[in-house]
Symmetry: C2
Subunit: 247 residues, 2 copies
DNA sequence: GCACCTTAATGCGTATACAATAGTATATGA
DNA sequence: TCATATACTATTGTATACGCATTAAGGTGC
């Protein structure tokens, strides 16, 4: 549970305290991405605590900035902030897992016809490239990279619909899905295996929105089915319920 | 454009600086709600600036807290934060308006069958009550109340589906819709008039999810059609495109 | 020996102070 | 009189300092 925080600071050898405001916004974006990535890639596992002081040291920004980032992550449900206990990587409940996949089925499938209409040959080749890289990562055993690429694929797909609002929503759902995979996925079987993505691209390239829609539905159901979504409940056992007392 | 900020502080006669941490979180939630409500009720119109100092005075909290709240509102797209210019109520673009309504059609319609399955007589009477109050407000000419109640109705409906994730998303979409109505709606015709909501409840009470779905689609299309969504474009004309220069 | 109380340490919530920047106004020169 | 440049003001971005809460450990009393 306790992990080394420094590992998420992949490419920033102490920014040298670049003072008050060396393009400040940029830095925050970078840090946000770093933490987000670390969570999605499961370098930071559900339940891992994210102490503000530790992050402050790692990224060399003040707590103010860290807090801003943590709150953003909290709104996206990647981290959970408990009032006086601090932030930690959220451990999705079974209900949340169900909700997220239901939402993905509804939105991502609904988007497919639109995508099929708008897609260009350029987009197709880009998607194929992404699928190829994902496949390669999977074969090389780089799980975290594969998960990340898979999420990126689904996000890119949603963007192609042209609806920025729904694309952003899908993006969030994909991030949360990565967490869900981390908690409820069995070791060997991590979603989006096989050639599903390649097949999906073919349908879209043909302009067959309905087939793509049906296939996406199947695809998501398969991923969900591969999970073992059972409530762990260890966190806060409901003593009232267990012992049948009212107060 | 410049409005009186104090009007959003409806019911808090100076909390008397209740010190360091008198259930601090609670206060923030209240303030968040107050600002959010004021935007949705169009007491704060799109483009209105939200200066941190002013809010600090009105609500009697430090800028730190205000900033937190503003950032939350920004993530929900209710306010826009421009890097060194501060926060203002967002003025939705035409593209955003289209995206939001497309999203609402997809999600809210998709949720109807689920709602029809889960709904209880208790829920039905609650919804009828909400619809009645909305109608009354509309007849009494209380526009802002009516808009707020209408949004609340749609949100409650989404909640009844049992999917918290999608419900939260719908909630956001409804908030943004209020803004869109404020910008693109014609004066007289503010959405959700007539007895649409009552009819919808009837379909749901009968358990006819498909009819409810179709009706919801019609309902949302009607609202969207009543808007005059034309790009104002004054905001940030793309000079590169206009003058055809590459750099 | 066990339980409870006290104390210390850790860590977050809040406020305040300082730095930097964008917008505005004014002054000066042509 | 108009245009340009400079100085100023208003407002945000960032960091730091302080205070309270919670937790854990150690000591003392029973």
């Amino acid at each position: 549970m306790e992990q080394e925080l420094s590992l998420i600071n992949g490419a920033k050898p102490q920014p040298k305290r670049l003072g008050k405001n060396g393009d400040g916004d940029e830095r925050h974006e970078v840090i946000y991405r770093a933490i987000s990535d670390a969570i999605i890639k499961q370098q930071l596992q559900p339940g891992a605590r994210l102490r503000e002081d530790a992050l402050t040291e790692v990224f060399n920004v003040s707590r103010t900035g860290i807090r801003k980032i943590l709150q953003r992550l909290a709104l996206e449900q990647l981290v959970t902030i408990t009032p006086r206990r601090g932030a930690s990587v959220t451990r999705p409940t079974a209900a949340e897992a169900r909700d997220v996949f239901a939402a993905r089925k509804m939105v991502e499938c609904g988007l497919m016809p639109e995508v099929a209409l708008h897609i260009t040959p350029q987009d197709v080749s880009e998607l194929r490239d992404m699928a190829k890289r994902e496949h390669k990562a999977l074969k090389a055993g780089e799980q975290s990279t594969a998960i990340r690429l898979s999420a990126a694929f689904h996000e890119r797909l949603a963007q192609l619909s042209g609806n920025a609002t729904l694309a952003a929503f899908v993006s969030q759902l994909c991030s949360r899905s990565s967490l869900i995979l981390a908690v409820y996925g069995s070791a060997g079987n991590l979603g989006c295996e096989s050639h599903d993505h390649e097949d999906l691209i073919n349908y879209l390239a043909e302009g067959d929105g309905e087939k793509a829609k049906a296939f996406m539905n199947h695809h998501l159901m398969e991923i969900e089915a591969s999970l073992s979504i059972v409530e762990e409940e260890a966190v806060a056992p409901d003593l009232h319920q267990i012992f049948g007392m009212t107060s």
